[in-house]
Every structure is written in C-alpha cells, then in structure tokens.
Subunit: 162 residues, 2 copies
DNA sequence: CCCTATAGTGGGTTAACACCTATTAATCCG
DNA sequence: CGGATTAATAGGTGTTAACCCACTATAGGG
C-alpha cells in the first residue's frame, strides 16, 4: 500500500492528480496559498491585512521612509499605501510627519507600539509556519528556507503582493 | 558586502524586509504566487484557466469521473465545474456521457485531444518551473520537491484552488 | 514669476474568484 | 405511487485585490 496513513482527521482525503503533484510549482502555489490564507485570517481578527504587516516590517527593518520610497520598495500602489498608512497611523503604529526639506513628502516611521505589534504579528506568522511545516524537522526547515531564499532571489520583479 | 550580485537586469531591486524574508511561508507565498501567475498567463493565451488543466489532469490520471466525483476530488464548486466541463467539451477535450445506470450523473472522460492538450500544458508548466527554479540545480530541485511533497501531504483540506 | 513635474490622497472602476440559489431531471425508499 | 434526496446546470451575488483618475499642494527650473 502506497498511502497507508490514516486520513488526518476531518479530511476529505482528496488525492490530487500525480500530474499536478509532480510539479513543484503546483505544490508551491498550493502551500503558499494556504499559508497566506491562514495568516490573513489571523490578521483579520485584529482588523489588519497583510500589507499592514509588510509596511510595518519595512519600516522596522529599514527605518523611516517617504511614502514614495515605501511604494517603490514594496511595489504597492501609492493610493493604496496612503490607505494602509492611514489605518496604521490611526492605531498609533506609525507616525507621519511632513518632510521639512520637501514638504510634499510625508515621512512615515514606526512607533514603539508599532514595533510591539509587528513582534506579535511575526509571532502569528511563525505559528502558522509551524502548522504548515509540521511534517518537517528543524534541519529540513532550514534546508527549505535556504532553497526558497535562493529561488526568491532569482525572481524578476513582476507582480508582487505582500 | 553581503549582496554583491548585480541586480538581475531590469529589476527595481526592491530589497524586501528581512523580517519577511525570514519567513519560509512568506517566500512560499510569493514564489507560489509568481509561478501560478505565470502559468495562468500562458494558459490564458489558449483561452484556458488553471481549473481546466486540473480537471484534465484528474481525468487523465484517474480515468472517467462523474462530475459529482470530480467536484469531490478537486474541491471545486459543482456549478463551476459544469462550466469548465462545458468549455472542455466544446473544445473536444473531454466527452460527457449520461451514466446509463444512474441517468442523473454525467460521466466525463478525457479524449485523445484532451490528453494531447494536457501534455502541452504540462510542458508549459514545466517551462515556467524551469524559469522559477532557475537558481537551483537538478539535485536541489529534487530535494525541494521532496520537502514540498511532504509539507503538502500534511495540509488539512481547507480551501483549495487548482 | 509662470510652467511643468512630483507627492500624497480620495474616490472610484475592473477582473477574478468563490460561493449561493433556483430549476430540472432522475433516483431512492417507505 | 409520492415525498424526499441527489446530480447537473444556468444565472446571479459578494468579496477582494489591483489598478486608475482627478485633485491639491509643493517643488524647481527657466
């Protein structure tokens, strides 16, 4: 018997076609989608979306940005970023200050509350990751991370998403 | 210098936040999304969608199904499957025959043309995969495939998608 | 000082996708 | 037989994410 494991509880047990399962890209798409979806769910419980986390991460990692530069870095529409920044500012997670040198620009920086929030969100993300990568041990996860990082590095910059 | 590689041509070079790049789930999501998008583009040039390919693959791998069973296997809405089957039948890629035993059921089977089409689509998928996995050599790709397959096997059957 | 370009913002439009509903036809079971 | 159930299908709804346009305010060059 090739698949002797009992169906893991509450599972339709739908075997997918080998033609698809043989495609790493299919698996990547499916797994990535699942992970993304689960994290999005958790963020939604806090009234947040994935872009909120991406923006917080960019600010925490690279310091204050003009919105223009955030747009450039994250590949998000300027108009949409304005909305994200609005919401984050309303929650006190980021501060927006007019750039004194160029008063068109609005410099966005993360607050302490924002950093704390990001830490929590990162925790949620890691919890999801633990669920998703459950079948792999620590060493295998590291191998996977290494491979994915290299693959990611090779992607040319088309459509992005958080 | 930690990132000495020249930006790979025509690239905004947007460095993503390490906070995100450290998450395998982020990379999975991003890479999977890219791969999916690129394949979807190619299929669209033929007037096809991902579900068309999934349905063809299921029929080719497992033989004829009642639509009911395809729905079960692929996690697709019955109503949507009807439309997919319609289109595939119009192109001559599948045949629909009333089940003589239970005349409510419509049995769908792949035709030779359908098999030929699937072979082409699989070729497209592998071409995309070659693009996406370009940074990895053959052995690394196999390691990746193995890890992904195990991760996939551990996913409980929530939302699916092709 | 005009004239053009840029930064941010508000308020839409669009496209894709999952999902739901009603209808028709056939089956099953008491 | 008759009522309840299931299969397929047509058509429509809701959500989401990406995107686009118009407007304001500022900058900067001639």
């Amino acid at each position: 018997m090739t698949s002797s494991l009992p169906t893991p509880a509450g599972h339709p047990a739908r075997d997918m076609p080998p033609t698809l399962l043989d495609l790493s890209t299919y698996l990547l798409s499916r797994i990535g989608r699942t992970a993304r979806g689960r994290l999005a769910e958790r963020l939604a419980e806090r009234g947040l979306r994935l872009w909120d986390m991406a923006v917080l991460a960019a600010l925490a990692d690279f310091g204050p940005h003009a919105q223009r530069d955030l747009v450039e870095r994250l590949g998000l529409d300027p108009s949409d970023l304005a909305k994200v920044a609005d919401q984050l500012a309303a929650g006190g997670y980021v501060e927006r200050t007019r750039d004194t040198a160029d008063r068109r620009r609005v410099s966005v920086s993360v607050t302490d509350a924002g950093r704390a929030l990001l830490a929590e969100l990162d925790g949620e993300a890691r919890a999801v990751q633990d669920e998703v990568l459950a079948p792999l041990d620590a060493q295998e996860r590291q191998v996977l991370q290494g491979l994915l990082l290299r693959v990611h590095g090779g992607l040319s910059g088309g459509r992005v998403g958080p």
